[in-house]
Symmetry: C2
Subunit: 364 residues, 2 copies
Amino acid sequence: MSQPYDRIFNFSAGPCTLPVEVLEEAKEDLLNYKGTGMSVMEMSHRSKAYEGIIAAAEADLRTLMGVPDNYKVLFLQGGASTQFATIPMSYLPAGKTADFVLTGTWGKKALESAKIYGQTNVVFDAKADNYNQVPNLESLSYSSDAAFMHFTSNETIQGVEFKSDPSLSVPVICDMSSDILSRPVDVSKYALIYAGAQKNMGPAGVAVVIIRDDLLASGPDGLAPMFDYKVQAENGSMYNTPPCWSIYMCGLVYKHVLKHGGLAGAQARNQAKADVLYSAIDGSNGFFKGHAHTDCRSIMNVTFTLPDEDLTKTFIKETEVAGLDGLKGHRSVGGCRASIYNAFPQEGCEALAAAMKEFAAKHG
Amino acid sequence: MSQPYDRIFNFSAGPCTLPVEVLEEAKEDLLNYKGTGMSVMEMSHRSKAYEGIIAAAEADLRTLMGVPDNYKVLFLQGGASTQFATIPMSYLPAGKTADFVLTGTWGKKALESAKIYGQTNVVFDAKADNYNQVPNLESLSYSSDAAFMHFTSNETIQGVEFKSDPSLSVPVICDMSSDILSRPVDVSKYALIYAGAQKNMGPAGVAVVIIRDDLLASGPDGLAPMFDYKVQAENGSMYNTPPCWSIYMCGLVYKHVLKHGGLAGAQARNQAKADVLYSAIDGSNGFFKGHAHTDCRSIMNVTFTLPDEDLTKTFIKETEVAGLDGLKGHRSVGGCRASIYNAFPQEGCEALAAAMKEFAAKHG
């Protein structure tokens, strides 16, 4: 099926597909943003026009996620990986422990970085089963001196996803990089949520941090200003020049999600897309095998294997020729990974499911 | 005079004007980059297409600046302000001193951040004269235990600029954020050069770091990976997802500068533009007063004052109506600042000079 602008179905794990309408609007305004006589890329971040852009992005994100008033919303640089350092630098004081729940690769990276700054404790690790499951967070034992617990709501590489917000007495910090805005969440259950933009929000180059005021205030003095969430909050994410274009693009995406039913609408579309692929897996008589346990199957990253390496290579090659791009799985899981973030179209999932069915019939 | 696409003359201090041809190319490829079927914003940073984009950007920057082989070129997030922290974190060990030359606001910010990480020493400070001059760097006395000396080649707010590369035995670290690519430099005189992109290179969201191998290797172990220049170098600036779009745009700008005579061409155009404005100042019989000493007048930021505050306000208002935008000076200097970075057109300088002449004749 031919896509508008000869675009392909892009199953990349991120950066990834953005809504066509958003790209069209960015293109339309590229040399002259709404009569300002300049591109958003050329605009002073202190100008009225840009202040309007960043204020609207924050307001729309707050509306979308229902962010309570006692939380700050920050747009920062360095991706989630920089927050892996600045979070423990800020909120893991001597004498306290940071508890980590490990359900995949990104949680492990967050842990390794936290170890540099203080005491850590692993309260759950699915390593023995190659990270194919998630625990019940309410049933785990947290450290008595826990500064916070940290988990990764969706593990991109493994395709395992938590399906609800945890109710815990310990402050909860969550890396939502790969499923933020994919479904409604109760922000009040979290002390801090962070996410790189490049899956569901916009292009790479900006990370969103949503932080409760009491945690924010508990940070130490004397940090370098760029690493100090308090400084960033006091300066409205503009202590220095922010990544203006990436924030602008996120703002366009937020408006697009709002226009299409908000997070409930996104969830319904994402679940329908994921169902198409998981049905293809489950209906293949074991030719395709899903990696994740069925109760934690990600609606963002569908991971599955084929009977052997040769068939996997053939499948990836054939689908790529057919315009289904980026299906190669990460080496730690093998097989295939179909990343189907918010903006990925239903038609792409149907095209992949059809290709899977055909391939299994031929080789099964 | 009407500009293409109804664009205005944008004198912003950064982000600022980009070449129209570069914006046109970005617009053309926005929904489908060169037949890949996706936008650069949607592309996996691990894809062949994106690897080509970042490799070309690095190669073109190396060509433009004549970067020797024993230097790494990095594209990082967080702007120059993050390097204010990661440089001393990396290269200011206990028992050593970092020497700072202060010729304006940005040098002072770099100093404040370095103090967090170690011993510092101010070897020159033009504060008493409100930062209107630069010293001869070869005639200053550096600390006997200097880990490095740091200076700011062009101070954006004050409009003072060093006119040559220093020959020093102490390792030289230079913040070139606001004049990189404006003129040829001898990279071999520096241990580390860094610059935010948003003046002469591209949109905000990426900083370039050019670092000599011996300094790179001298960094400590155990830093968080995002703050570790060694990790960034080993991973080709892709330890995590880089700011793909900003790097892509920088790459387009590099090609544009190469096509138009390289840095010698840029310098000739910049000097000609600056001459138009400094001539207008010097020919105004004292109505306009230049802030910087004549020997260090910036060819990027032309700072000048008017006889009083009311005239200043009137001038800024009248020029803004005429499509000359962003001329208000920083409060620490007052008056006006005309930022005329690489991509700012000659016609804009001539339009401003004409407006200055007319205004002085009327109010002088």
